[in-house]
Amino acid sequence: MPYHEFECSKCIPERKQHAVVKAPGEDLTSCLPKGYLNTIPGSISERGCAYCGAKHVIGTPMKDVIHLSHGPIGCTYDTWQTKRYISDNGNFQLKYTFASDVREKHIVFGAEKLLKQNILEAFAQFPEIKRMTIYQTCATALIGDDINAIAEEVMEELPDVDIFICNSPGFAGPSQSGGHHKINIAWINQKVGTVEPEITSDYVINYVGEYNIQGDQEVMQDFFKRMGIQVLSTFTGNGRYDDLRGMHKAHLNVLECARSAEYICNELRVRYGIPRLDIDGFGFEPLSQSLRKVAMFFGIEERAEAIIAEETARWKPELDWYKERLKGKKVCLWPGGSKLWHWAHVIEAEMGVKVVSVYTKFGHQGDMEKGVARCSEDTLAIDDPNELEGLEALEMLKPDIIFTGKRPGEVAKKVGVPYLNAHAYHNGPYKGYEGWVRFARDIYNAIYSPIHQLAELDISRDPIPTDKGFATQRMLSDASLPEDIRTSTTLRQYSGAYDTISPLRDKTYPTFDSRSAAAE
């Protein structure tokens, strides 16, 4: 096994099995790090807890729900407003977070009464919201509060409300991924099948594992609507609670993020016979293939082809403008879980960059299998890295940019490596054709930002070139480009709008004859 041992982790020998280099000739039978194990003591992990994974990643994007954490206020506070999963109802789920504010006396005497009072207060404060998710935390799990019993009591007293219980305290798994699993299974066990949804199309999907980061879900939903496909529910970005109770009536589960949501797809297949189709919404080619596949499933290929042709013609010249300027740039692709495999190959193929390292904070070995399979030779793959390993890797690989979360991202900035937020994005959405160009633009802006010329000079030590002017982005990026590329009239920079999502919310869509009407 081509393990990589970090100098800084020699004192934690177990860490060696968590990093590999994909040397020439290596494949998945010889090159795969360990994954989804408890963080080794002594290694300061960048992971979140299982409560955070359940609430922050999967639960909270549901938009018409009061999200109430039963526990100390700190758990809630740290999972509030850090991710940009917007919604088309005024971002209720982002604006408000609720906690029962458990204190020492409740740990001693029990916090059930407190919880009930909190539930009633929250519903009273927001009378238009009739749905709630209650999240268990470590403290209340350990004292044995019966959240289900309290929820039942409230639902009897207030018959128009519905409450979902997510029993995923922080310790319920090695990382946030344990929480993804728990909330998937809890949702299908408690809620799927409890509402009969209205079916308005011959073609009905659940869009699963999509969290509407800066509008990703709305971009993809736009494509589906243009094809006449009903998105019965989205699990969970911009998703409605009651739509998700009706998931059992879809014809197909379209799965975007297999890391966070394959569990519910697998169960929907076993319990309701709904098949699962895995797609890739990032990148022109993978997205085109994905739209094509969904359309083929329903026999409406021509509708997908029309969208692919229109979008590619509109946006490809802009993607290629950036590709020419990003060729050969070295990237550390260090996201949380699924983006390591969503992006590993396609950013090389479509943006010309070179991925020199992939890592995952909470991914499983299955994610690393996909990541290692997709990345090219000599890539360093790391599972659950600690901060020192991250710094050592940056020193060794000297990347031009890093895509990661904001904690490791800020560390990278300090050593002069620009970073893009892989979880919440900089100027997303990144899905869709236009979104992919926005991503390329963000990479370009980060790498060629003139700020690096100043930021990397230490005024207490370095000579300051006062005789030289400031080099602009274009001066930096175009310096070594061939004349025909530099002056090309077909390639162009991003020309879209600042806000690409709001117009989608008022858009009208074509109506298609139903299959039965067409047959008559």
Binding site: L28, L252, G366
Partner: protein, 116 residues
């Protein structure tokens, strides 16, 4: 395996590994089912045989198979020079190798977990 077949199988596997997701379902039994159905249908499509998916599940295998067969034809002109028996033989080797890499010799310790 003779060298040319080996190289061809490697090329075909490489495309799947870099561009597809269906071979990486989470459990052994899922991977077996996925590989068997999708490679089986792709083989029939490449051999010019009709494939009529009947159930929703079959349709999912079929859409992945159609895309794979098209990608193979577009990327590997040498496929057009092979007879039906040669294609079958090549795809059988591909299936064997894919099962080996993703199931039997996989280092993923979660594949045998009894639950999703």
């Amino acid at each position: 395996m003779e060298d040319v077949t080996k190289t061809r199988v490697e090329q075909l596997i490489d495309y799947i590994m870099k561009n597809c997701l269906w071979q990486f379902h989470s459990r052994n039994w899922d991977r077996k089912r996925q590989n068997e159905n999708i490679i089986g249908m792709t083989t029939r499509l490449l051999c010019g045989e009709p494939v009529k998916p009947e159930t929703p599940e079959d349709k999912c295998y079929w859409v992945d198979a159609v895309c794979l067969a098209e990608a193979y034809r577009a990327r590997h002109p040498w496929l057009a020079t092979l007879g039906v028996d040669q294609i079958r033989e090549l795809m059988a080797k591909l299936h064997e190798q894919l099962d080996y890499q993703t199931i039997t010799a996989s280092l993923n310790e979660e594949l045998t977990d009894q639950h999703y």
